[in-house]
């Protein structure tokens, strides 16, 4: 009886806790989305406006998150910075995924020779830690937001490609693919209608999780001075600028840092929640 009760309660508490996390993540995602699309709505000021008199102001009513060394409002900058981080995160994931789909599909569909070649190429990419690969790319093509985005995308591509290839090979051998052949479908029809949808659907979850990671990586590159240039209101760059004053003006690095963490966590929680729903569907 007690075991029964325990089993019952542990079953009911878990979904509730999850629902709270999912709800919070949803709200945060909404906030971030608004901040990215219409930042003026949440922070009407100019993120680049200088006010030397108000420099290094700690969080007050006038400046909720404080100000930086030039008196720029940190809150306004954080809100306006959302679009950079979000766009970089999404674009980098899209690049990684796109490249992964192309490489994975080539390897999975075009026979042993292509498969071998692509696999060796992926192994070379895998040999470098992801961030190192991104750094190498930036070394060659110079720093900047666009390069940083492509660099992050590039370094996530091998992982996606591997997963797509494995998934593709599994789906390719599935009975329903054979059934489609028996119905008289062409190879390309089967690829487009059956194989790719069933390969890519599980990847959607992974990509959502990947957005969080891409945002962190992009911020890392900016922090190292290889992404967005300093006056730009980008979280990683702001973090970097605040580093000099970390002992006297903690708010300069604290708030951008919090937002990087929150965005990454939001993406992860949402990704996992989609995953769970798809599994139980």
């Amino acid at each position: 009886m007690q075991a029964e009760l325990a089993a019952y309660s542990s079953q009911s508490v878990r979904p509730r806790r999850l629902a709270v996390a999912e709800g919070l993540a949803g709200l945060l995602a909404l906030f971030l989305l608004i901040a990215a699309v219409v930042p003026q709505f949440l922070a009407p000021g100019d993120p680049l406006a200088i006010d030397p008199l108000a420099a290094f102001s700690p969080p007050t009513f006038a400046h909720g998150f404080g100000t930086d060394e030039s008196g720029r409002d940190i809150y306004t900058r954080v809100v306006h910075g959302t679009q950079y981080s979000l766009v970089i995160g999404l674009a980098a994931t899209a690049i990684g995924l796109g490249l992964g789909v192309v490489l994975g599909t080539l390897a999975g569909m075009l026979g042993p020779v292509v498969d071998f070649t692509v696999n060796r190429f992926l192994e070379v990419l895998f040999a470098f830690p992801g961030l190192l690969l991104a750094l190498l790319f930036i070394l060659v093509f110079g720093p900047g937001v666009a390069t940083a985005t492509i660099a992050v995308g590039l370094s996530t591509a091998p992982g996606y490609a591997r997963i797509i290839r494995a998934q593709l090979i599994a789906v390719r051998g599935a009975a329903f693919v054979e059934a489609a052949t028996v119905l008289g479908r062409t190879r390309w029809q089967i690829l487009a209608r059956h194989i790719l949808p069933n390969t890519l659907a599980p990847l959607f979850v992974l990509a959502t999780l990947g957005v969080g990671q891409a945002i962190v990586w992009a911020a890392t590159l900016s922090y190292l001075g290889l992404g967005a240039e300093p006056p730009t209101a980008e979280w990683g760059a702001m973090l970097s600028a605040g580093r000099t004053y970390i002992t006297s003006a903690w708010w300069m690095s604290f708030f951008p840092g919090v937002f990087i963490v929150l965005t990454a966590v939001t993406a992860t929680v949402l990704g996992r929640s989609i995953d769970r729903r798809m599994r139980h569907a």
Binding site: A3, E4, A7, Y8, A174, A175, F176, E178, A179, A180, T181, V182, L183, G184, R185, T186, R193, H194, P197, N198, A201
Partner: protein, 552 residues
């Protein structure tokens, strides 16, 4: 009697969580040396009953009973620890899938010795001797050598023997066998049943759990039929099978296809899944003159590469002819090359030698591009219906897609009202209601899935259907309905069928002609009536002898 009974169960009830109980008051006893078989379809509660007797019903199960005595001692409310000392010693268990029941990384000898080590004072040398004795007793050839093998190195029958050896290691007074032969070939099944019977004769009480009436009728002294958590009928085997009283029992007995002539209905006409289309009258007596040849296999040969690089012949010089409107049954045990033959006939594999001709024209030897337009003429039905459907699609999408292929070739538009009407007709023909259209195959029952599979195969208006084990994963009563359905559509549409199965009873019931396959070759073929009545080849004789028959 109850004082000496090996097992006494009185009013056993088992439920999970807050849901309705799945076993709702079951009572039976088994005397030493007696075999009771509990027979039921999936979901009837038979396995839960068996597991409850071992304290293995699961953590969230509520097991209640007025009496639950094992060897005269109550086992009610035993703790997990107390159960550990009883299992193996007082009661042994044999499960269906020996592959997952044995640890793949440990030699079987060690697996069997485990219970000896835990429950006896035997030393290591004595244990090793006992293990070899046990393996010898269960008929494993060369036991001294086999003890070193791991489960993956043994065949299905050998694994099952090893598992039985482990279960009887401590000589328990009661042995529970849950579907012990379901995964095995008929000839192996017959051997395992003989072994169980021998164990029973040595005085062990045997509780057999099975879905297959014919299998249990061989060795069970008494049969109890379970349905919806209750024992609906029980008694001596001959009595229950010979003159079943309960309606459910009667339909289960009627559903067994072996020895029922071609065209006999296996499922009751008023079953809920019966089709709305009126049935055609009783079949005309099988015509003696045969129709034209629609499909012919000539000397098909195909081999596969083994992991070590050598080639293994899967299909070796196989020839047969399929006549219009008739059914060719291909029967054989696992590994006999039946499925490879089906794939060759469907032109999913290319033969290395020989060819398949369709309507007198080349089929296997032409380019896929040329074949594609003719593919709708050959439908396929698979054993794993669920796996043969794209998991992302609903039934409506699956069928519309199949109809679409037929319509493209007849220059029709996909969303025309005619195609909608054809969708409905198609569903009606296989006895499904329109409500399944919006569902995904995962949400359907096994029988419904196979009906959708048949509907999809019929969508292209085929003249030939290739059925690869189409009813092997279904309950007997559902199998009966699907066999009846195949019989109906064949007659209404004049289809020619190739029916591949390991189940001789099913093949005997549905086929006009039969080909018996073994190790990639057809060892015997001819009219079904002749082959089943007077088999010529020794292997056919052996195979037929092994088929479980009611009251055989």
């Amino acid at each position: 009697m109850s004082a000496t009974a090996a097992l006494t169960v009185h009013n056993l009830r088992v439920g999970f969580g807050a849901a309705e109980p799945v076993v709702r008051g079951v009572s039976f006893e088994i005397a030493p040396g007696e075999c009771l078989a509990i027979v039921g379809e999936s979901g009837s509660g038979k396995s839960v009953t068996a597991r409850s007797l071992l304290g293995l019903a699961g953590g969230n199960a509520r097991v209640q009973a007025d009496r639950l005595d094992l060897g005269g001692r109550s086992v009610q409310g035993l703790t997990d620890r107390a159960w550990e000392s009883r299992r193996g010693k007082d009661v042994g268990l044999v499960l269906q899938d020996a592959l997952v029941s044995l640890d793949p990384l440990r030699p079987i000898g060690r697996e069997i010795a485990d219970s000896l080590r835990l429950h006896t004072t035997l030393g290591a040398a004595a244990r090793a001797r006992r293990v070899i004795e046990l393996l010898d007793a269960v008929g494993l050839p060369d036991p001294a050598h086999q003890v070193q093998k791991r489960s993956g190195q043994l065949s299905g029958g050998e694994r099952q023997r090893a598992l039985i050896a482990a279960a009887i290691a401590l000589d328990p007074p009661l042995l529970i066998a849950d579907e012990p032969t379901t995964a095995l070939d008929v000839t192996v099944q017959a051997q395992i049943l003989a072994l169980l019977e021998q164990i029973k004769r040595s005085g062990t009480a045997l509780l057999l759990i099975s879905h297959d009436l014919a299998v249990v009728s061989r060795i069970a002294d008494r049969v109890a039929l379970m349905h919806d958590g209750l024992l609906i009928e029980s008694g001596p085997t001959e009595q229950v099978l010979g003159s079943p009283q309960h309606e459910q029992t009667r339909s289960m007995v009627a559903a067994v296809p072996a020895d029922k002539p071609r065209g006999t209905r296996l499922s009751p006409m008023d079953s809920p899944a019966a089709r709305t289309i009126p049935r055609s009258p009783a079949p005309a007596p099988t015509a003696t003159e045969q129709g034209e040849i629609v499909l012919e296999a000539i000397g098909l040969t195909r081999s596969f590469r083994r992991p070590d690089g050598s080639r293994q012949l899967a299909v070796d010089d196989v020839s047969f002819a399929l006549h219009r409107g008739s059914t060719l049954g291909i029967v054989g045990e696992s590994g006999s090359g039946k499925t490879t033959t089906a794939r060759l006939v469907l032109a999913l594999l290319e033969p290395e030698q020989g060819e398949v001709q369709l309507f007198g024209r080349p089929w296997s030897s032409i380019a896929e591009k040329k074949r594609r337009g003719r593919r709708p003429g050959v439908g396929a039905i698979y054993q794993d219906a669920l796996g043969s459907f794209d998991p992302r699609r609903s039934v409506a999408e699956i069928l519309a897609d199949a109809l679409g292929s037929a319509l493209t070739h007849s220059r029709g538009s996909r969303r025309s009202p005619q195609s909608l009407a054809r969708l409905t007709t198609l569903l009606d023909e296989v006895g499904l209601a329109g409500t399944v259209l919006s569902r995904r195959p995962l949400e359907l029952s096994g029988g419904q899935r196979q009906r959708v599979g048949i509907a999809r195969a019929l969508a292209g208006r085929p003249e030939i259907l290739i059925c690869d084990e189409p009813v092997s994963s279904l309950d007997v009563s559902v199998q009966a309905q699907v066999l009846d359905l195949l019989d109906d559509v064949q007659r209404e549409r004049g289809l020619s069928l190739i029916f591949i199965s390991h189940d001789l009873g099913v093949v005997q019931h549905i086929s006009d002609d039969v080909a018996v396959m073994r190790s990639g070759r057809i060892v015997e073929s001819g009219p079904a009536a002749r082959v089943f009545a007077a088999p010529q080849h020794p292997y056919s004789v052996q195979l037929l002898k092994a088929v479980p028959r009611l009251l055989g």
